[in-house]
């Protein structure tokens, strides 16, 4: 078997602290990328000097860490996680040429444990999107950075989207161009592409993983999380990056358990909540079927299913698009051409601001900045932002009530399998509804995982989502692991 096919567990087993073996893992991935990334288009940069050659340098750089438990493990990163000395762009024109002078806390943690940053993944611009199609690299002018001329493609069907916004992170894992990857999830940006690409994607509890060095979209919603080939890998990777960080006041000082200890093939007595609001008309029939079959798998393994209600589900998307855009409008204000990134020269200060932002941001970024600016404006704040915060509290309460009756909640991750490239680009509302099942976990700050649960009639992967109370990632891992051990879906690979 080729090394690029390996999981984290296999890879570490193979390397065992040997530098040459680490290099051969990395070489295997490089060959794989050279062969297929011109079709998938998952990556935007491969090393600080942007060349694929630079990847080898990364391995040797970290050779000093020999003896570290994760020595030689290559981790691909979504391009909104800051890497010192290595361009970080959020797939936006406005950050072209921006080289962070510091590493994100997750990068620091990975490197301390011996892992290294392998390459950086494409994404929707500033994580605004559910298809990876808003990336600035999809424009012809920017294509030189990617191996593919055009947007990232779903490895299962190159005419379809990867999902998003962590589309590159999901696609590189699904296409065996990475051992594992990190993405970020604000409203489903890890779980939805994981589901559409047939990999495991985890959004941790808000505050579980430090956001320091993650370029913010919606500060009260964002979390970094793993995209992996198996549930075990997800548990391993979360174990590395989780934990309190002095530099992030919103991270919580809760001990990090050994998540691999919760990889137990047993759901006997587990109470699985099935929210009736999630199984309404409009869900793709294949998705519905796959989820119903998954419920049956759990039943047959000794879990019980409980009918629960999350009454404010209907408001989630609206609440989310008010809070997330409000925060985004403020978070993105700093991209003004003064300090770093793209600047339009000429004219006075006002013109510099105006043209820098006009030319630097793509359509979707502008749409969200305008929306967010509007809901925070004098005279509208109470009606939109304040009201949305109140409804957010109701949604939080929905979950705490529901978890009195069940241990985990099971839902589809996405209402449909991967859609065609271009299909929803002219219809932002349809695009926004891609995240209808994933948004509530972000609003409530609770952890949620998407795992492969089956395939559509067209052979497209379908994901199932499990949600648990805050800091109960271990519960998610056990339930997800049990499903994985008793099904074969995760073993199937995209043919490329």
């Amino acid at each position: 078997m080729d090394l690029y096919n390996n999981t984290i567990t296999d890879t570490l087993d193979f390397i065992r602290g040997d530098k040459e073996k680490a290099t051969s893992v990395s070489d295997s991935l490089i060959t794989r990328i050279k062969n297929i990334d011109s079709k998938v288009g998952a990556y935007v940069s491969f090393s600080p000097d942007k060349s694929i050659k630079g990847i080898e340098q990364n391995v040797s750089l970290d050779a000093a860490k020999k003896g570290a438990p994760f020595f030689g493990l290559p981790v691909s990163l979504k391009d909104n996680i800051c890497t010192k000395g290595w361009e970080t762009t959020c797939s936006s024109n406005i950050l072209q040429g921006y080289i962070p002078p510091y590493n994100a806390t997750v990068v620091k943690k990975l490197r301390e444990k011996g892992a290294f940053i392998f390459a950086k993944c494409d994404m929707d611009e500033f994580a605004f999107g559910s298809s990876c199609e808003t990336s600035c690299y999809n424009k012809r002018a920017m294509k030189q950075k990617k191996l593919k001329d055009g947007p990232a493609s779903n490895p299962w069907d190159l005419n379809r989207v990867t999902g998003g916004s962590s589309g590159g992170s999901a696609a590189c894992v699904a296409a065996q161009e990475a051992i594992c990857a990190l993405g970020s999830d604000t409203g489903g940006s890890i779980r939805q592409p994981a589901a559409l690409c047939g990999v495991v994607g985890l959004k941790p509890t808000y505050g579980r993983v430090s956001r320091y060095g993650l370029i913010a979209f919606g500060s009260s919603l964002d979390q970094i999380g793993p995209l992996t080939k198996t549930v075990e890998d997800s548990a391993i990777l979360l174990g590395i990056i989780a934990g309190w960080d002095q530099k992030d006041s919103t991270s919580l000082n809760v001990p990090v358990p050994d998540y691999t200890k919760s990889l137990i093939d047993n759901v006997k007595g587990l109470r699985i909540g099935i929210p009736r609001e999630y199984f309404i008309e409009g869900i793709n029939s294949d998705v519905k079927k796959v989820i119903q079959e998954a419920i049956e798998v759990y039943r047959s393994l000794g879990a019980s299913c409980v009918d629960i209600s999350l009454p404010h589900t209907d408001y989630s998307v609206s609440v989310y698009y008010i809070i997330a855009t409000a925060e985004a409008s403020s978070n993105l204000a700093r991209f003004d051409g003064v300090e770093y990134g793209f600047r339009h020269e000429g004219g006075d200060l006002h013109e510099m601001y105006y043209e820098t932002r006009n030319r630097g941001f793509g359509h979707e970024a502008k749409r969200r900045i305008l929306l967010g600016t509007f809901v925070l404006s004098a005279g509208y704040y109470d009606a939109y932002y304040l009201k949305a915060q109140k409804v957010r509290t109701l949604i939080v309460n929905d979950f705490s009530d529901a978890f009195k009756k069940c241990d985990v909640i099971l839902t589809p991750t996405s209402p449909t399998p991967a859609f065609k490239l271009g299909e929803r680009m002219s219809d932002p509302l349809a695009m926004y509804l891609s995240d209808i099942f994933t948004i509530p976990a972000n609003l409530a700050g609770i952890p949620a995982i998407s795992i492969p649960a089956g395939f559509s009639r067209d052979g497209l992967p379908i994901g199932l989502q499990l949600l648990a109370p805050a800091f109960c990632e271990d519960r998610l891992f056990q339930a997800a692991y049990t499903f994985e051990q008793n099904t074969e879906f995760h073993k199937k690979r995209a043919k490329l």
Binding site: Y212, A216, E327, S330, F335, D336, E339, T373, L376, S377
Partner: protein, 477 residues
């Protein structure tokens, strides 16, 4: 018709913490541009703020000293606006839940005590600074100041005239200096003030339209600008014109205010809760520990000085204005000299010399024991008051004790009766006219003869003894 002004002041004070409010960078003033910066205070993407506890403690300290309520929940908000000195394009500030609110300070107005309400005092971060001087191809930005902790202290519109405004600022500054939370240096920008003013017919309940005055660089500028605005408002009202609600800039050189922006151009700051800083509870314990550690404040100290040292209201008032001066005074008194004497010496001679030479209490090398020593030399008759006044500047400049200067320069008072008699005799001999005048009842001549004797002795003769000897000798002529 008579008019009255309604004035409220907003004071921004830099808190003197070692590091910035949301990162570990130094707050030092005057360093190489952009040398005290990091991803947080540069607002780099992905960087996050972490509150400096010291800044919070200082804010609570000020709140308590201003008799404010201290909020039980600490919450920060984002104030959004674009300007090159603001790296995140929002300022982390406090909008609807200031750390302290509903307080007051007492000031002296027309000889009576007056309460000036404090609406709120909230924490926020300072911005960077634009550099224009000597730059031809645009402007540069220095972010060293970015993230310096600021406390914005907003008064109620309880101030009735420019004099009260000046008094309020002096009292506030004095309190802040006593708390040792700020340098309060207007030149370096560690204390800044904006003024809100409106004018209405005397006795009217309805407020007039207000204007805000910015660019006030000294307490004197505040008073002058207010005087100007009161006159401008009054003239406009008298002329039947409407006052426009606007922000105006004070031009100190010309002594006028100029319109900067109107109400329509006012920013919509789109305040919303800062999601990167989770609200937290300020424990009552923390507040009470800080409260019990508050130093004696100027007003309390003044009352104590009046009581303990029998000083006049005026004397005590001047002494407590500066914490170091008050301390200097007390240390002198502890050194065993009479309080009233010390107060007089500080007010007249010491302050006079310091002002003339531009010496601050901060930089004064004279020790309280030195001044006490000087006064003791007068009290014991070793030197005359006149000599003492001459010695003081030398003490300050040379850093020598009075005793030493007296010894070195031979300035000790002459009390040897034999020597003095000789002096008196020679002056009497060389001024027969005055002696005769005296004999003829012209008492004034005695003063002249005294003066001549003192002059002969270069001021060193003991005046009491000279007086005694002179009187006796004249009687016997």
């Amino acid at each position: 018709m008579d008019y009255e002004a309604v004035i409220g002041l907003e004071v921004h004070v830099q808190l003197r913490t070692d590091s910035k409010i949301f990162c570990g960078c130094s707050t030092k003033f005057g360093d190489e541009p952009n040398s005290n910066t990091c991803p947080v205070c540069l607002g780099l993407p992905g960087a996050l703020p972490v509150l400096n506890k010291k800044a919070l403690d200082y804010a609570i300290k000020v709140g308590l000293a201003l008799n404010c309520h201290i909020a039980e929940r600490l919450k920060f908000d984002r104030k959004n606006y674009f300007y090159p000195d603001l790296p995140k394009a929002y300022q982390i500030s406090q909008y609807d839940m200031p750390i302290s609110y509903n307080g007051y300070i007492l000031i002296e107005a027309e000889g009576v005590e007056k309460k000036i309400g404090i609406t709120r005092a909230h924490l926020e971060e300072d911005a960077g600074k634009l550099l224009h001087e000597g730059i031809v191809d645009g402007s540069y930005v220095d972010y060293n100041r970015s993230g310096t902790p600021l406390l914005e202290i907003v008064s109620e519109p309880d101030i009735a005239n420019p004099k009260e405004a000046h008094e309020y600022l002096t009292s506030l500054k004095s309190i802040l200096e006593y708390l040792e939370v700020s340098d309060c240096n207007m030149e370096e920008g560690s204390l800044r003030c904006d003024a809100n003013i409106s004018v209405r017919p005397k006795g009217s309940k309805k407020l007039g339209t207000k204007t805000e005055i910015k660019n006030l660089n000294s307490f004197r500028a505040v008073a002058r600008a207010l005087e100007y605005e009161i006159e401008r408002h009054t003239d406009e009202i008298e002329a039947g014109e409407k006052i426009i609600q606007e922000t105006r800039l004070w031009n100190d050189a010309k002594g006028i205010t100029i319109s900067m922006r109107g109400k329509e151009e006012a920013h919509d700051y789109r305040y919303f809760p800062e999601p990167d800083l989770v609200p937290f509870t300020v424990s009552r314990e923390t507040t009470s520990v800080i409260g019990s550690g508050l130093p004696e404040l100027p007003r309390e100290r003044k009352i104590r000085f009046m009581k303990d040292y029998q000083l006049s209201d005026y004397d005590a008032g001047i002494l407590v204005q500066d914490k170091k001066m008050a301390q200097f005074f007390e240390d002198c008194v502890i050194g065993g000299v009479e309080a009233k004497q010390v107060a007089n010496w500080i007010h007249s001679e010491l302050l006079g010399t310091m002002n003339a030479q531009g010496i601050s209490w901060q930089s004064l090398s004279l020790k309280p024991s030195d001044l006490a020593g000087l006064i003791k030399l007068i009290e014991s008759g070793k030197i005359s008051g006149k000599i003492a006044k001459e010695i003081l500047p030398q003490m300050i400049n040379a850093g020598k004790s009075a005793q030493k200067i007296v010894e070195e320069k031979g300035l000790a008072q002459v009390s040897d009766e034999g020597v003095l008699e000789g002096l008196v005799d020679s002056v009497i001999a060389s001024n027969p006219r005055s002696v005769e005048d005296f004999k003829n009842g012209k008492k004034k001549s005695l003063g002249f003869l005294m003066g001549q004797i003192m002059k002969e002795s270069k001021g060193k003769a003991n005046p009491q003894l000279v007086n005694k000897i002179l009187q006796e000798k004249l009687k016997n002529i």
